[in-house]
Symmetry: C2
Subunit: 190 residues, 2 copies
């Protein structure tokens, strides 16, 4: 959240969209977290609020003309930037992501004969779609957002996704071949 607010001051609603549009392929946050966390960050002095819900006095600057209203826009504070920088300095944890398709594949012999092939088809379609999305995002990043100073890092994250999806399509080919020859046979005919 603090990271997102370095891109621009945002409302809770904006943050949700930011997560959906920018980092959705590797991170997600729901309203159920966003609003409580904003409240907490504010109480810790890591963000400040302006607009609708900015109860504390001194929030509305001189000529600010009540803009749109009803929105509460949050900005990161210097303290927030320090906390963010500290977090960025800690090594990232490599936690085990649960991959449901692998679990099903692992036990696929216990299911219908064509099951594994179906899973793989589905999986291939998913990653083909992702690569298409990635290409569109890349075009946008190299186009309109090319001047943003964070752009190189954003492209790095994108590249991660592309490498993974390409590798997984290659795996699909391999898996398909294996499943259609030795894999499925031992159950039925043969």
């Amino acid at each position: 959240m603090l990271g997102a607010l370095t891109v621009a001051p945002m409302s809770g609603y904006d943050l949700k969209r930011f997560f959906e549009e920018s980092v959705s392929f590797f991170w997600a946050e729901s309203y159920g977290q966003i609003y409580p966390i904003l409240k907490q960050l504010r109480s810790e002095g890591l963000v400040t609020a302006t607009g609708a819900g900015a109860a504390a006095r001194g929030t509305r600057g001189a000529g600010q003309a009540a803009p749109s209203q009803r929105r509460t826009v949050y900005s990161i504070t210097p303290g927030g930037r320090r906390v963010l920088a500290a977090w960025l300095g800690e090594p990232a944890e490599h936690q085990v992501g649960r991959i449901e398709v692998l679990l099903k594949l692992f036990f696929a012999r216990q299911g219908e004969p064509g099951g594994a092939a179906g899973l793989i088809d589905d999986f291939r379609a998913h990653h083909e779609a992702r690569l298409t999305t990635y290409a569109a995002t890349e075009a946008r990043l190299r186009g309109e957002h090319a001047d943003r100073p964070d752009a190189p890092y954003w492209l790095l994250a994108l590249s991660y996704g592309q490498h993974v999806s390409r590798a997984l399509l290659a795996w699909c080919d391999e898996a398909d071949a294996r499943v259609r020859t030795a894999g499925e046979r031992p159950r039925a005919d043969a």
Copy 2:
């Protein structure tokens, strides 16, 4: 859990180890889940218990000689196999796995200049280690476990991990190059 019990009847303790040794790179379960779920599966008639905690009568067969005792071993029932097969028939969901390292990288411009490079180094080491583990697992699967009928599917899952880790090492090279040239420069010297 039902899937694991098709491999062999197991105790809760065995299940934990099964998850740790076989599928740990894409799935994990803790005791806090295993024991309650076993209880529930049993109440639904999807598994049966033998040994220590097998309260219901008729569990100990004729010449079974109280083996080791204090263990409660669970076996999958025909009903359990049906439920498992039904689950295997449903398409797998592609949920967003949270990748912390990408989040840090995405906002890396807000941290220390060398931060991104450090994250990548760490990440590379992690996937190199994984590839080593995968190689050992592959040897075991092609060796002692080669005759197991599920082995082809297990190798497929393993191959997934190998494809991903190899792709990520390639990404590390690319990312490193980008971070050490254009990436880190605009903050300090230059």
